[in-house]
């Protein structure tokens, strides 16, 4: 931390602040978000009753909002898992106040993203066929395996550092009641013995190492869902790393948004400082540049040749009907955020939050521009098909987006928003480092 080490009680108070009886604003926001989620549920029920015909999808553009959402939301979950894991493994000392929020965002976004393959199915009632009759050669099966493994790992990654924190909550409460029982369950008999500390630290290192290849594999197989076809724009060998980088990019943006929101709502200014935002913003710029590099290398090599279908796709994207969206992404979602962070004048918390918002919205747009135009372009001589989403698709998409902050708000109502355990560890290191320096 800064000049003064924060005291134990201060940290605990701040971490558990969202767990106090919620105010009117909390209820209002939760109500609003719940309404959106409920509306999405109604829309989905309508879709289940009437079939996918209630969407705007057709015989050529058979994937639309849902598949874009699948890629987008799972990408969002990356920010949490990857940043938290990388920061842990590299021992970045400033990570402590961020990890809990990052990991919770990862799980929330992943739960939402993992719902979309099922939402998109024509026969969701037969989903178990993927297990009963699963074909190892199908990218859909790869996806199901990768997403479920990654979900399990993300949950463990969230729950491990929660063990000592659940113990703190457990100790602060009377023995009885459901809530106490849950804390007791999650704390796994944590007493804070040196042996327990050792085991926890080791397990966390292992899962942090594991989660990186798992996360990489998830977005790689998602990319191959497209890459194994001959569709223009999809038929690309760089899709896997391109998708992985894009996922991290949007994920870090999402983490910044979550940090900004909870920092303001629960007055965590003393813990989440401009420094945190600046560091994350630097990571964001690096990822933005990487993404830009991938895009240039993809479009330059294809655009140089302008080969048949791919050439037509590039024209559609850059000059045709979709050009406004494409350039909106390039300027709004990629270049503007880089500029906002690069210029010292706007490299402030509001400026960085705005950049992150542009990145997150821009990356959704980019996912859409990957999924739909690749299908809209004909492979045999006929015309372009235009896809407009129906209200059902829009409602489900908005509901999905609302579900993430809703899950986070409810989660932090019951669990510390900052990782008390890691904050205290970091403080301890800080103090001992100072003591060593003084001696």
């Amino acid at each position: 931390m800064t000049a003064r080490a924060l005291s134990r009680t201060e940290i605990r108070e701040a971490a558990q602040r969202p767990m106090m009886a919620p105010g009117k604003t909390w209820w209002l926001i939760v109500l609003g978000l719940s309404a959106l989620v409920l509306w999405a549920a109604v829309a989905y029920a309508y879709q289940v009753m009437n079939g996918l015909g209630v969407t705007g999808l057709g015989q050529r553009v058979t994937w639309g909002f849902y598949i874009a959402n699948l890629v987008f939301f799972i990408g969002i979950s990356y920010g949490g898992a990857m940043t938290s894991a990388i920061l842990r493994l590299t021992g970045a000392p400033w990570r402590a106040p961020l990890t809990r929020m990052a990991e919770a965002t990862a799980v929330a976004a992943l739960l939402v993203g993992a719902a979309f393959p099922i939402i998109d199915l024509g026969r969701p009632d037969r989903f178990l066929n993927v297990i009963l009759h699963g074909q190892v050669g199908s990218p859909v099966v790869w996806d199901v395996v990768a997403i479920s493994t990654y979900l399990a790992a993300s949950l463990i990654f969230l729950l491990l550092p929660l063990i000592p924190d659940a113990a703190v909550c457990r100790d602060a409460r009377p023995e009885r009641g459901l809530r106490s029982r849950i804390y007791r369950l999650l704390s796994l008999g944590w007493e804070g013995t040196p042996e327990q500390h050792r085991v926890l630290r080791r397990s966390m290192t292992i899962i942090a190492i594991l989660i990186i290849p798992l996360a990489v594999s998830v977005h790689s197989v998602l990319a191959w869902l497209f890459g194994v076809t001959v569709r223009p724009g999809w038929n690309s060998t760089i899709f896997a790393p391109y998708f992985v980088l894009g996922a991290m990019f949007s994920g870090v943006g999402a983490v910044i948004l979550v940090l900004a929101a909870f920092r303001k709502a629960y007055h965590l200014e003393a813990y989440i400082t401009t420094k945190h935002f600046t560091y994350l913003a630097y990571i964001l710029v690096v990822l933005a540049s990487g993404y830009l590099y991938f895009m240039v290398s993809e479009y330059l090599t294809e655009g140089y040749k302008m080969h048949e279908d791919t050439g037509r796709l590039l024209e559609l994207l850059m000059l045709g009907r979709l050009a406004p969206f494409f350039w909106l992404f390039i300027f709004g979602g990629l270049l503007a955020p880089i500029a906002l962070i690069a210029v010292p004048f706007t490299r402030t918390i509001p400026g960085i939050t705005l950049a992150a918002l542009a990145v997150v919205l821009g990356m959704w747009l980019k996912r859409f521009l990957i999924v739909v135009p690749g299908l809209a372009e004909p492979l045999l001589p006929s015309s372009l098909i235009i896809y407009y989403p129906s209200w059902v698709e829009v409602a489900i998409t908005l509901g999905a987006a609302a579900a993430i902050p809703l899950m986070l708000m409810v989660f932090f109502r019951f669990f510390p928003v900052l990782s008390i355990y890691e904050m205290e560890e970091a403080e301890l290191e800080h103090v001992s480092a100072h003591a060593a320096g003084g001696a």
């Binding site: 009437n50 079939g51 996918l52 015909g53 969407t55 999808l57 057709g58 015989q59 050529r60 058979t62 994937w63 393959p117 998109d120 199915l121 024509g122 026969r123 969701p124 037969r126 989903f127 066929n129 993927v130 009963l132 009759h133 699963g134 074909q135 050669g137 199908s138 990218p139 859909v140 099966v141 199901v144 869902l225 497209f226 194994v228 076809t229 001959v230 569709r231 999809w234 299908l375 004909p378 492979l379 045999l380 001589p381 006929s382």
Partner: protein
């Protein structure tokens, strides 16, 4: 199909090889009984293992269906599409055989009917997560609509846009279907993918596919690779390999190595490459 192989075959056989159409398609009726026996285990097809031994009524070698479209004859009437949709009780946007229309620089219209290519190496089959798409022993690519989960990856994977998703319940069939088979349901199932089934319900009874029967221009031919014969609604019967080589037959998107079983004879100077 290997070009030199077919030519060798041709030399070793009699030059003119007239085959009676009735004889060609007859006897296939025995296959109906075989089909009724049940499925070939899908796993075996996916693994590429040889199908199980036939009953004594079946021929030693199954038919290997193929298709020839003579574009010189097609006038774009779309009767094939119409009849196909009627027979299989399909909605209007399901064109299992679809007639593509192009206009060249001189303003002349060209037509190209496209059905499922029944590829030897079908990309749709590879990507199916539940092996709902399979190839029967006669080389016809089919969808088990009782298993399909409707993920539609096969539609994205098909380079010929030959697959259709049942977004809604299909129209009610006018009359009960005369030869229901386990391979495909009529009417189609909502929420699953459908496609050209090369009228296995007809060929198994020695009848022509609906589109071939419908073609007044006699542009569509059903063919069998094993007996090297092709025939159309007009009763014209040719030796397949010779017809293909003499008329410079081509297949769509040869470069993708899907090895389609549909051959085209180029028409009025239209572009061979699509």
């Amino acid at each position: 199909m290997n070009q030199s192989d077919t030519e060798d075959q041709e030399d070793s056989q009699t030059k003119q090889h007239p085959v009676n159409r009735r004889r060609f398609l007859g006897g296939v009726g025995a296959m109906a009984g075989l089909a009724a026996v049940g499925f070939i285990p899908l796993t075996e097809i996916v693994k590429g293992e040889s199908p199980p031994a036939h009953t004594s009524t079946a021929r030693s070698q199954p038919r290997q269906w193929a298709f020839v479209i003579d574009l010189r004859r097609c006038d774009g009437c779309k009767k094939c599409t119409e009849d196909c949709q009627k027979v299989h009780s399909l909605p209007k946007d399901h064109e299992w055989i679809k007639v593509y229309e192009t206009t060249d620089e001189d303003g002349v219209k060209h037509f190209m009917p496209r059905l499922c290519m029944h590829c030897e190496n079908p990309p749709c089959l590879k990507v199916c997560p539940v092996a709902a798409t399979f190839k029967n022993e006669e080389g016809v690519v089919l969808v088990d609509q009782n298993r399909c989960i409707g993920c539609r990856l096969c539609m994205a994977a098909c380079p010929y846009e030959a697959r259709y998703f049942n977004y809604a319940d299909p129209p009610k069939p006018a009359e009960p279907f005369d030869n229901p088979m386990p391979e495909f349901p009529v009417p189609q199932q909502k929420g699953t993918v459908g496609k050209c089934i090369l009228c296995v319900h007809n060929t198994s009874m020695g009848k022509l596919p609906a589109c071939v029967e419908a073609c007044a221009m006699n542009a569509l031919f059903i063919a069998d690779l094993n007996s090297d014969v092709m025939t159309n609604a007009g009763g014209e019967t040719y030796k397949l390999s010779r017809y293909l080589s003499e008329n410079d037959a081509y297949r769509l998107k040869e470069e993708l190595n899907t090895s389609p079983r549909v051959w085209y004879i180029a028409g009025h100077g239209q572009d061979l490459e699509f």
